[in-house]
Structure formats: C-alpha cells, structure tokens
Subunit: 320 residues, 2 copies
C-alpha cells in the first residue's frame, strides 16, 4: 500500500482523534517526537480533516513518513480495523476510517483505542521505559486502563482488557453509567471529584473552597489547583480520591504482580498530592511481596502519549 | 540428568505436597492420569518420603517416567528452583528439595506453586481445556489464584501473580492476616464462612442450622451440605459468599477480559448454590462486553489438578 519501505530514517505519524482537537505527532522509529501538528476538530468530515493534517506534516517532514496510526476513543476490532464501540465519538463507528484514510494518504493505517495508544506511547518513550510489564491508567472524564505484558499490548479476548474504571471499590456505592454500583469511576473521575466536592460544600457551607473564591462551576482542575495552593479542604478531596484509586491499583498489583504502573490523564495534574495517597493506599491494600515489586509513577508524555503510541503501533504493524 | 529421552510413550509424574498427605499421579504426555499414588505425610524427611512414593509408581508404570513435577504450598523462585516463601510448609523452604530429589530419583525436577500447578492441570486436562487465556481460583482454607495468558502461566514480575484472595472487596471490612482490611479472604475462605455463620447464629438463636442438628464445631463443608439439603439459612450464607467472590471475579474480568475463569477448592463443593451467585454478581459488576466474553465454570479435576499440572510443567521444562 505504501510506496515506502521503512528504514532508520523513516518516520511514523500518530494522530489522536479523542480530544477537542486533532493532535498529530511525527515520531522517529525510536519513539521520539520530531514534529507536532494540530487541527480543529469539527463535526464534519473526519477522514478529510485527518487527510489534510497528514499532508501538512508530511510536507514539512525531512524524511519519509511510512505509516499512520490513529488513536480513537472506542474499541477497535483488531481483525477488521474498524471501530466497534465508541460512546464518545459515534461518527467514527459509522465511517470505515481505515479504508478511507489508506486511500487518501496512501499509507498503511493502524487504528487503536486511545488508552491502548497512550499506554504504548508511555511504554516506548515515557514513564514506562525500561519496563517489560506495565499497567497504564488514564484518569480524566472517564477512567480507563491498558495492559502491556512482556512488551506487548494485551487486548484481552474481545479487545476490552484494562477496564480499570469499572472495578468495584464500594459495594454499596452509587450507580455507574455502566449499570454497576460503586465503580471507581463513580468517585474518582474528574466529574465525580467535582460532584463529591459539591456534596461536601452543601454539607459544610463555610468551606474554604468558597474562601478561595471558586465559583459554582469549578472543575476538577480548579480543585487540584486549590489543593496545590494549600487549601485544606481541596487537599482532603484530592487525598480521598487518591485513596479510592489506590484501592483499585492494589487489585492490579495483586492479580498481575506487575513491574510498573503508569498514571496519566488530567486528574494526575494534582501531582504529588494525588500520587502519594495512591501509592500509600495501594501499599496498604496489596500483598506486600507484590507491592514491593511495583513502581507506581506519573505519566510523562502528556498530550504526546496517544500520537506517539499510535505511531509506534503503526511501526510495529509494518514489522509483522 | 535423566537417562530417558521423552517420546510418545513417556509418562510424567506429579506430586502434591500441599495437603494432609502426598498425592501422586502418573500422567500421559496429553495430561491423562494413568495411575495414582498416595503416602502419609509425616513431619519427617520429606525428600525421602517423596523418593519412596516415586519409586513405587515407577515400579508399576508400563512406560518410562521421564520427569517429576512437585506442587508446593509456597512461592518458587523459577531461577533457583527453590521454595522462597511458604507459610504452610516451612520445612520445604529449608530443604533444597530440587537438588536432593534429582539425586535420589535421577529425574529432572520441576517445583511449582500449588495454585499454579492446579491452574495448569485444569488448563491442560480439566475445565480450562480449549481456552488460551484462563484465570484459576482456589477457594479453600485460603484463597489463591493463577493466571494463564496465551497458553502459559503468568508468574508476574516476582512470581506472585494471582493473589486473588487479597483483593479488597470491603474497604471497611475486618483485618486480614496480610495486614490489609476487607480482603476477599476475610469473608469467603472456608474458616471465614464458618466465622460469619457463627456470628449470625449468635445473633439469631433459633437458626435453622441448629435444627439440622449441626454441632458447634461445624465446618464450611457442613454448611454447604446443609444448604444442599435445603436449609434456608445455610443457603443464604452460601449465596452471600458467592456474591463476595463474584465481586472480586468482576475485577479479574474487567482487567483481563479473559476467556475462562475456573473455580476450584473445597468451598466449590457447594456446587451450583455457590456458582450461580458468583456468576450473577460477576455479571452485575463487570463491564458487559468483558463479561459476555467470559465463561465462569467449576474446576473438574479435584485432587488430580495439582499432580497433573505439576507433571505437565515438568513435561514443558524438558521441551525448552
């Protein structure tokens, strides 16, 4: 399909179509980002928007681009290359993105779930470097995960492995969008951190958060910011969130005895204030010899994670 | 080390040293048990006892025995072949069992954790047959697990993968022997089923269990028996136990999206009365597309599971 054969000067393109805009990265065979691109993500013709972004980055590239990886917010059937389920981006499901992009770009196309792409990006070039077995968690509007075993993404039997957000951490907890009650996501996703904080503010009308001048429409990022400014109540909310996450992390550690756990996503912008209670609670709730073998670290690639991982999976697809 | 080269008529020996007695099985290369042996397990010279049991089975064997696998209740370091940790059988830790048995039997020796051996036995010849990815759970005095990914045991980074019993299912639960609170083991192991039942009996002095004539020293097996005889209260205790187990099973399903989950151990003697609520609760608490891809079944090999798995791992060790 591609007219190019990969060599050491070849580059790979990765694009994240999960966010508010299309983020692209031109990536070296070793996983280093050599150029970035961005395009507004309108609700129009997604293949045309991607094609135009690809053309732009190829025009500027010093060496040939040999494959394109696309991170999408949904499940990808590895055999057909089609997006099977996507709550966040239903239009992708309808489009046969792979065939269409292969035609317009003349590149081999690899579609991949965004959490899997981010995990692989961190594994190759970020906080997962040097490990062989890694669990990746993304903590944002939703909570997802992905598993790398012996250097390879573990997709599971139907492509859904790593559903970290739906681990039950409170059997008596509130209902989740998935139908279960007490999933991690019901307390630790960004919207649920906001919800829990609102509930506490109603209970405690003289909260320090209002002293900090936050308006009624504050976000999880605002809470993290207030916590980092030293607000006691915000710190408490972040600390409790970390303990919930740590409880679920302990299940991963116990089941997999895994070398490294990498935590990414917007909720991790709280930094040490959330990482420390995660590690503490995971330590308290893990079988000790498993915990001692695990490094729990923050992701380092930020918005480059998905494009990097998607590009590297496109690279791998050419090698097989 | 062995003077025999394996061929299609070779057999493999497996011995379980985890129980009250030593259980041995002579196993075909395909995993079929062709003969069994048993010896009292005194606290004396374990290598001598194993050696004598091996000699007995070899004397009766129609075809040559080419390797010996031993299932032990502890962690085995795959590199040294030594038992690293065993709460249940400390004398094994001190003995260099592998070297000693290699000398006395002139067979290649493979030591393996008993839960891993049982998992592999079920995978090759029991309820796991036909799967590639399988999680095994043993529910008895303790609760353990083992993971088979792509046909191979997944030991984890330090050999401790599958610590299913120490998954937190109740953050406010009672203290576990491991130091955590609310581990699955604190409510669903055989002694804890008895403890919970005693607590309910104290609360409810006219319980039907006493009508069934159980004395004060009843066991988990007695409760399962009473449940199968139709005792409402015993059925309730078994059903709740199943729901606790199902909660932890859901975490496995969500993380691994695994094809098959095999449940063994004495607690599973309650049969359908415990399997049904496990499946129901796992279904309620799993991400549905993951759950739909998973078969949850009872183990079928009973006491043959550990010797069969140990023998098959000894077989595999000769092939590498």
């Amino acid at each position: 399909m591609s007219t190019q054969t990969p060599d050491s000067s070849s580059n790979y393109l990765g694009i994240n179509v999960s966010g508010a805009s299309l983020l692209a990265a031109l990536v070296s065979p070793e996983g280093q980002v050599v150029a970035r691109g961005e395009a507004a993500f309108s609700n129009g013709d997604l293949p045309a928007q991607i094609t135009s972004l690809v053309a732009e980055l190829r025009a500027d590239a010093a060496s040939p681009v040999v494959a394109l990886g696309i991170g999408v917010p949904g499940l990808v059937n590895p055999e057909t290359g089609r997006v099977v389920v996507s709550n966040d981006l239903p239009s992708v499901v309808r489009a046969d993105l792979q065939t269409e992009l292969a035609r317009t770009t003349n590149l081999p196309i690899t579609l991949v779930n965004d959490a899997n792409a981010a995990a692989y990006g961190e594994y190759i070039a970020g906080a997962g470097r040097g490990s062989r077995n890694m669990f990746y968690v993304t903590l944002g509007t939703g909570i997802g995960g992905a598993l790398i075993m012996d250097g390879k993404l573990w997709y599971g039997d139907s492509g859904f492995a790593g559903e970290f957000g739906h681990i039950t951490i409170d059997r008596e907890g509130i209902e989740c969008t998935c139908g279960n009650t007490g999933c991690l996501e019901t307390v630790a996703s960004a919207p649920n951190i906001v919800r829990r904080t609102h509930e506490r503010l109603i209970r405690d009308s003289t909260s320090s958060l209002t002293r900090l001048g936050l308006n009624k429409n504050f976000t999880a990022a605002d809470i993290a910011h207030a916590a980092n400014e030293g607000d006691d109540f915000a710190m408490l909310m972040i600390e409790r969130t970390g303990r919930y996450i740590g409880t679920a992390i302990a299940a991963v550690i116990n089941l997999l005895n895994i070398q490294r756990i990498v935590l990414g996503g917007g909720v991790m912008d709280a930094g040490k204030l959330i990482l420390d209670p995660i590690i503490r609670e995971a330590g308290r709730r893990s079988f000790q010899p498993c915990f001692e073998a695990t490094q729990i670290v923050a992701a380092t690639l930020g918005p480059d994670a998905v494009p990097t991982g998607a590009a590297m999976l496109a690279r791998d697809a050419m090698r097989t």
